[in-house]
Structures are given as C-alpha cells and as structure tokens.
C-alpha cells in the first residue's frame, strides 16, 4: 500500500507500515512499526537522533519486498514513543534491548542503524552480541572530531558555553510544547537540519512525524531534547567497540558532510573495522543517504544481508 497521507502528499515508494503497536518496557511505552510479512525473518532498523521510524517509509519497504519482516521503533521522546522524564544513551540501549526481546527473543537477527541508531547498535552488539546475526551501519560511526588548535582558556570558554547553554535549555523547556505551524512551516524548520531533502519529502515527514492540533501542526519530538550536548563520552570510544565486533559488519560513510552527521573521516575508521567487515564510501550522498537514494543504499545492504533466513 503506497502511503497517501490525509493531506494527499504522495512520495514515490513510500509506504505506511503494515503494523503499528506499542510495547511496555518497564512502564515506558515504545512505539513499533513493521513493514512486510509478519512471519518473515526479522530485520531490525534503528533511526537516528531527532528522526523517527517513519523516516524509513521509503527505505523499509524495499527490504519488506525482499522478504524481510522489517521492524523499527521510535526512540524515547521521538515519534509515537513516550516522552521520558530522563534521556540518556544507556536508556536508549535499554529500550533497544526491549525491542529486540519483543520481536526476536534472544535469537540473533540482522540489524541496520543510521547515524545515532548505528552507533547505538554498535554498542548493543558489543554489550549483547548474542542478539546480532549481522550489522549494517549507515553513517553512524563517530570518530574523533578535529579539535581546533586553541589556547586552554579559549577551550574552557567553549565548555562554559556548552554547559550553560544546555542548562538554560533545560530550564527553558520545562513544560514547553513544540511550536505550532502549517505543514510548510514545519517542513521549512526541518529543512534547516535536512538541507538535502526535497520540500515534498519534508512536507511528507510533517504528516507522519507531527500531530495536527487546533493551533496547527506540532512535531511529536520532545522539546526538552537538544541536539549536541556534552558529557564525559567521547566519539572515538565507539571505535574501540567497533573493532571487537564478532558479527559480519558493513559500514557506510557518506561523501558529503552535513550538520546532522559526525563528519567522520574514513581513514579514522578503517583501522577499527572488525575482522571480515567492510567499509564503503557512498559517493555523492549526504548523511541521510538512505532517504536520498533508498534503492541504491538498500541494494548494497541487501547484498550484504543475503537471502532472508
């Protein structure tokens, strides 16, 4: 079934999920979305930060048509999952494990992650390797960011700005709601984060990632979350986990840097690709490669995954 939203925005290849439901993870509600035959082999799909499962509306159906039961979920605070009191990387890992438990028990299944979802799956595969049959990662491998050659006091000032900006965001967003607007206004706002997406796709995303209220459309994303942030975590730590993965691994990095990406340099990652794994560069594509070229990226991943089993 092709996706045709209430606002009649047609996107070639986009399909609404065949099944949508929620699971209870210790009192916390997580929204799941599935494409394909319910009895087919499971393929997990993890979205990136500030995205949601329905951003796979053009990508997931390709795998469903190839014989997979594609399962994705909205991370906490994203899409149709509950807004949480607290957000953390560990909490996202726990939610991911709950989704794996629900759809696959403790059987190994293949998984694909984009951006934050890719990094999340790398860490889950390190902590719970029994869950994974294989892992494909689309521009979700953080590496050490170039640190500008600045004096110590300037670096301190940078940290001060990050910390106080974050604290003030938390204070400001207590009880906040997303700003309402028309479909075009919300699409334009998101376009600032996704400059390579077409206007029509952005408008489509509004109709599946926002809610229509009396005041207008509002993104479902919890406004208390903030892009970026700070903390003791360092991007290069992901590489240490990557090197030790024991399942077939296929990493993809993109040629064109975007604000939402990590700007990872292939030469930083190559030494950490696990034994038997591979890394490829998607030329001419940006951070959301799977949306820009769903057929091309899916074709590569399908070849990696092999016959559904």
């Amino acid at each position: 079934m092709q996706s045709r939203t209430a606002t009649n925005i047609d996107i070639p290849g986009a399909r609404v999920p065949d099944r949508e439901y929620r699971i209870d993870a210790g009192g916390f509600g997580i929204a799941l979305h599935e494409w394909g035959d319910a009895d087919a082999p499971v393929l997990l799909l993890a979205h990136g930060g500030f995205d949601f499962a329905r951003t796979f509306d053009t990508f997931a159906p390709i795998f469903a048509d190839a014989g997979w039961r594609v399962v994705s979920w909205d991370h906490r605070g994203h899409g149709d999952s509950d807004h949480a009191h607290l957000y953390s990387w560990d909490a996202d890992l726990r939610d991911a494990a709950a989704v794996f438990d629900h759809v696959a028990g403790r059987r190994p299944v293949p998984a694909i992650g984009h951006s934050k979802g890719g990094a999340l799956l790398v860490q889950l595969a390190d902590a719970q390797p029994f869950r994974f049959a294989s892992l494909a990662n689309i521009d979700g491998i953080p590496s050490k960011r170039p640190i500008p050659d600045v004096a110590e006091h300037e670096r301190t000032k940078m940290l001060t700005g990050e910390v106080t900006g974050w604290l003030e965001h938390r204070a400001r967003t207590a009880g906040a709601r997303r700003k309402p607007g028309t479909i075009d206004e919300l699409a334009a706002r998101r376009g600032r984060m996704n400059p390579r997406h077409s206007t029509e796709w952005l408008r489509y995303l509004v109709t599946v990632g926002a809610t229509e209220t009396d005041e207008g459309w509002r993104w479902k994303l919890d406004p208390s979350m903030r892009f970026g942030g700070f903390g003791p975590w360092r991007p290069e730590w992901a590489l240490m986990r990557l090197a030790g993965l024991g399942v077939p691994f296929y990493g993809m990095l993109v040629e064109i840097e975007e604000e939402m990406g990590w700007g990872t340099a292939p030469d930083d990652v190559r030494p950490y690709i696990p034994d038997g794994g591979r890394l490829e560069i998607l030329s001419g594509l940006g951070h959301f490669a799977h949306i820009e070229d769903p057929d091309g990226v899916a074709g590569r991943v399908l070849e990696f995954l092999g016959v559904p089993a």
Binding site: G27, D90, L124, A127, Q128, A171, T173, G229, P232
Partner: protein, 211 residues
Amino acid sequence: MLTHNHVQLALHTLRAGSGRALLLLHGLGERSPDTVPDAVTDWPGPVTALDFTGHGASTMPVGGGYTAEILMADADAAVQHLGDVTVVGRGLGAYIGLLIAGARAERVRGAVLADGPGVSGGPSVPTSQPVFSLDRVDTTPDPYALAELGRDLRPPDYATAFARLALQGSDLDRPITVVARFRPSWLLAVAEEPGVAEADSITTALTTYAD
C-alpha cells in the same frame, strides 16, 4: 518543590536565615537530612538541602536515564532558586557539587567535596557494561538511579575541566575544597589542580567560605 524539566525536585529548608544559603547535596541512594548536620551548624546563613531526581521526595522517573549531568541540572534548579550559594556535597553529591561549581562559577561561592556513597562512580574508560532493565518500585531511591549513577563514567580530565571552569569563573582564590579521605581517580586529579584547596573537615572548609 522546584520544577526541573519533567521532574519535581524537593528543596528542603533545614534552617531559615538571611545571607548566602548553604546547599547540601546528598550521596547516592541517600536523601536530604531532616535536621542541620553537626558539621554545618556554624554556617551563618540559611541551610538548605536538595533531593536529587529519583531520591527522597523528588519525582521518581519511569525507565531510568540518569546521568551526572542531569543531576547537575537538578542542582542548577536549586541555584537559580536560591541565588548565590555555597555547596557541600557528599559522595555523588561531591561530584555534582564539582560540576555545578564549574558550570555556575559566579553563583557557587565555594564547593566542599566530602566522602559519601557514590563518590567513585564507574570506570574512567569505556567498558562493555551490561544493558539491563530493573523492576519498578514504589518508593525512592530509584533502583535505576543506584545502578546508573553508580557506574557513570568519570574520566579525570573531564572532572578537572570543571575544576578549571570554577577556578577561572570564580572570584574566590580557592572555590573548591576537597575534604574527602577516599579519593577515586577523578577526585585525586581534582585535588591536584592548582587552586583547589584541601581541608580536614567540612566545618573547617566552610570557615573559608562563610564571609
């Protein structure tokens, strides 16, 4: 109660008064004391104490997600409410006291870092830590708080970055005083930072911040 994003925080006034408030930050799994602790009775101003998220009378979140940075923002909500403060932190509260002293160097006029539960935190380098889920309970402390904050990463250079923020942003010569006897790697590194003071007790440390 204070509002910190989706959480209600209990800020207790243990002793009213005028002047700069003393803000007590408890250890991991603890809650604010009911009365003014002996070690701080000489403090000339009001004495207050904050229950962190998931502790004492504050909200217990669903599904965990604790980080030390979230608790720093808890402390920030108290600082924004109280104005200038001096902080005494026990254990986990000592680490949070350090973070807020760096983040709000102009408002936190002295932070005393003392022994207490949760002073160690977790490893200082990444490990293959377990992914787990816990049963819900009806009363604080939240088991997720105990599990997640008991193992949060505290690299020494991350801790010293906040000590430097405090030193650069405060007009006090020694805005941080370490009184803890047990010193995990992050606290050892902080204690060795130029400008960080050491004292043999909370009472002694507070005499330097009471002006």
